[in-house]
């Protein structure tokens, strides 16, 4: 993981703006990531299309739309299909993160920085160039 490699683009979809803001600040402070927040689930697909992230963190319980539906929309888009999606949710316990939700990996809130970064490195190409 070289500091020279370009920052990874990360989309976080969650109606909790406080959380997305702090996540963005924290991750970007490492200097290795560019984070885009989206607090409206219904706009997740269009934001992703426009932002082109390398990984999408997706909340499950949101007003208007469910994280699962969002995941389907993105998977349904051939341009976005390859982007790894990780659910980041408060409704499951940490012990269960080894399994998946609907075929997607997930992280349980509250999540630490180390876990987040490990997850990102695991699901994205190392030092990818975009």
């Amino acid at each position: 993981m070289s500091p020279m490699s370009s920052p990874k683009r990360i989309l976080i979809v969650d109606d909790e703006s406080g959380f997305t803001r702090l996540l963005k600040l924290t991750l970007e402070k490492t200097g290795r990531y560019i984070v885009r927040e989206e607090n409206d689930g219904t706009r997740a697909w269009s934001t992703a299309s426009e932002f082109r992230p390398e990984i999408i963190f997706l909340d499950i319980v949101m007003p208007e739309i469910d994280g699962g539906d969002v995941a389907q929309q993105i998977r349904a888009d051939s341009a976005l299909r390859h982007i790894p999606i990780v659910f980041l949710t408060a409704i499951v316990a940490e012990q269960e993160t080894r399994s998946t939700i609907g075929g997607f990996p997930f992280l349980a809130k509250p999540v630490g920085l180390a876990a987040l970064m490990e997850c990102i490195e695991q699901h994205t190409a190392p030092g990818s160039v975009e």
Binding site: E16, F19, L22, A90, I91, P110
Partner: protein
């Protein structure tokens, strides 16, 4: 005793003159019409006396001339001789005077030899022999009578016309308490008996004397003046003189007191037996070999419709019953009569004189003579009609009862099953509803709490990345981090507790699961803990949800290890047993989970730690209860354990060990 035919005579001749002896012999043999047998010839009186001692002699012919001296000694000798046998003295004119003296001394006759002729001598001889014979007979009679009177135990008396005793025998003398028979002579019954008794006998005796008719075998009571009493069988006869005139009475009386007493006793016994059999409600009767009734009791007579024994005796069942019934009786009698084997308690149906059907319990035993020959039958019949009817009713009632009991039982079983099912369903519904609600609430709380926690945590992460925060800043951050973690753990526990509870059970080896769980808790050990497993290798497989049971085991092991922060021993045992219900392990548990007699598998986890304060024991399974210091436990572990154990239909109890530490006991149904 001298005995000979009247026409023969055994003669002893005492004759000193041999010529005279020959002459006399010749004469008597030819002239007398007697058959003479000469027993001996004696030369002298002394010699004759000697012969007489040795020989049987009917008469002695003594020639007075043969007597040496007509002195007193000779007279006495002849007197002695004539006491034993008739002595006929033959005299000559010279000895005539002496011969007369001899006759006076007892000799039979004296005959002058000179004028002797056949007639005189043979007449004299014959007369002497006759007299001797009569005398002998008389003596004999007297002796007979004397013997009789002396020895017979019967009492004999002779009385005169005034009923005065003139002769009594020894037996009567003794009865009267006298020492000599003569003491009674001249006395009457009034002197010995009570006046009533004396009057009665006097009348009887007067009657005998007046009528000349005897009184035979009259039974009399005998009341003596001395108070003694007895019974006698008495015969009284008229006493007649030679001319046939009645001159008194004689009688013989036999003591029959003991006979009378025996008779009375027999009578009493007979009456008693009769009363007994007549009072019995059972029929008792005796039949002879031909089936004729010999004896029966009142109950039997009444049944036959007879009034008395006499109406029944000698008749047979054919006289009282329809032929068919009587035949059946006879058929039942036959084997007993033939084999002598008694028939015991045989149930017989019959129809009585009134046409009523009845049941009887019959016993027939052979009636045997003394020699064992079968004379007939003794029968006993007991009316069991009522019992039979009651028995039939009872049987019917029992059947009905059994049937209705069956119905009730099966209805009850159904009811019980339905009830159990309902309860289970209700329980499940309640449980499910409860869990659903708790789940929903918990999920909501978790979501709502976790999001702010996530923000705080993320904020902490942000601050931690700030360059060179000072020492106290870092401490604050660490404390806050811990607080977030704690809060998160509580939420996690809640989620665990409220997770939809559905088991996925398989046949699992509990022992293997124990080993697995031990492996994963070893890392928790801060102090040396000795693990002592005693696992039953034959423990059957149990229906368990492996993941959830692992959670249970890990939880319990962890608790034990945490309780032994200074080190100790962790004992783990598995075994199977049958619940006896005595002094038992199921007390205080969900006792309805197990029945007495059921086989179960038991797991015991025993530690030597600090145990659980007694006042807390009842609360250990409540959510959020913990004995650990704040921040060390969520208080949800044991409540989750309990939930999982309950879901398995198993039980768990935790108590303190006597020597310190705690012991958890889990019981699984097999």
């Amino acid at each position: 005793m001298l005995t000979s035919s009247p026409d023969s005579a055994r003669i002893l001749l005492i004759e000193s003159d041999p010529q005279e002896s020959v002459r006399l012999r010749h004469f008597l043999e030819h002239q007398s019409r007697l058959e003479i047998q000469w027993v001996a010839d004696a030369q002298s009186l002394e010699e004759g006396a000697q012969f007489l001692n040795q020989l049987e002699v009917d008469a002695v012919l003594l020639d007075a001339n043969s007597l040496s001296e007509p002195n007193a000694e000779t007279l006495i000798a002849v007197h002695r001789l004539s006491n034993e046998v008739p002595v006929i003295v033959l005299a000559s004119p010279r000895t005539e005077e002496f011969a007369r003296q001899l006759v006076q001394m007892g000799a039979e006759a004296s005959i002058l030899k000179r004028i002797e002729d056949g007639d005189e001598l043979s007449c004299a001889l014959r007369a002497a022999l006759d007299r001797a014979r009569h005398q002998a007979e008389f003596e004999s009679e007297r002796a007979f009578l004397g013997t009789l009177l002396e020895n017979i135990p019967d009492r004999i008396y002779f009385k005169d016309e005034q009923s005065r005793f003139i002769r009594i025998n020894r037996a009567l003398m003794e009865r009267f308490g006298l020492s000599r028979p003569e003491d009674a002579y001249g006395k009457t019954d009034a002197d010995f008996f009570t006046p009533e008794r004396a009057r009665e006998t006097l009348l009887d005796e007067q009657m005998v004397m007046i009528t000349g008719q005897p009184i035979l075998n009259k039974v009399e009571s005998e009341n003596l003046q001395d108070g003694s009493f007895g019974w006698c069988l008495t015969t009284k006869l008229p006493l007649r003189n030679r001319r046939g005139r009645i001159i008194g009475t004689c009688g013989i009386s036999r003591e029959i007191t003991s006979l009378k007493q025996m008779e009375a006793a027999l009578e009493t016994e007979r009456n008693l037996l009769r009363a007994v059999i007549d009072h019995l409600p059972d029929h008792i009767f005796l039949k002879d070999f031909e089936g004729r009734y010999v004896l029966d009791n009142v109950a039997h007579q009444r049944w036959l419709g007879a009034r008395a024994q006499a109406d029944v005796a000698g008749r047979t069942a054919f006289d009282f019953f329809p032929e068919e019934t009587a035949m059946r009786f006879r058929e039942a009698d036959e084997p007993v009569l033939r084999t002598g084997e008694p028939l015991l308690n045989f149930e017989e149906r019959s129809v009585d004189a009134a046409g009523q059907s009845r049941w009887a319990l019959v016993t027939k035993v052979p009636w045997r003579a003394d020699d064992g020959r079968i004379l007939g039958l003794v029968c006993m019949k007991r009316n069991i009609t009522e019992q039979k009817l009651a028995e039939a009713k009872l049987k019917q009632a029992n059947l009905e009862l059994a049937a209705s009991r069956e119905e009730v039982l099966s209805a009850m079983a159904e009811l019980q099953a339905a009830h159990t099912q309902l309860r289970e369903m209700q329980q499940q519904l309640i449980e499910a509803e409860k869990m659903k609600l708790i789940g929903r609430v918990t999920a909501g709380i978790a979501h709502e709490v976790k999001n702010p926690l996530a923000i705080v945590k993320m904020g902490l992460e942000f601050w931690r990345q700030q360059p060179a925060p000072d020492e106290s800043c870092q401490l604050v951050l660490r404390e806050m981090q811990d607080a977030v973690n704690r809060a998160d753990n509580v939420i996690l526990g809640l989620l665990d507790f409220s997770k939809p509870s559905r088991l996925e059970t398989r046949r699992e080896n509990l022992n293997a699961m124990i080993h697995r769980a031990l492996g994963s808790v070893r890392v928790e050990m801060r102090a040396p803990v000795e693990i002592v497993p005693q696992l039953d290798p034959h423990l059957p497989l149990l229906a368990l949800d492996a993941e959830k049971m692992n959670q249970v085991l890990v939880n319990l092991f962890t608790n034990s290890i945490h309780a032994m922060s200074e080190g100790g021993t962790l004992g783990i045992r598995t075994y199977t047993e049958q619940l006896t219900g005595v002094g038992q392990n199921i007390a205080g548990q969900k006792s309805e989970s197990f029945r007495i007699g059921q086989s179960i598998a038991v797991l015991e986890i025993e530690d030597t730690g600090h145990g659980i304060p007694e006042d807390k024991l009842s609360k250990i399974f409540e959510p959020f209860f913990t004995t650990k210091p704040t921040g060390k436990g969520t208080g949800l572990g044991l409540s989750v354990v309990k939930t999982i154990v309950d879901l398995h239909g198993a039980t768990i109890s935790i108590r303190n060990r006597i020597g310190g530490g705690a012991i958890a006991t889990l019981m699984f149904p097999l």
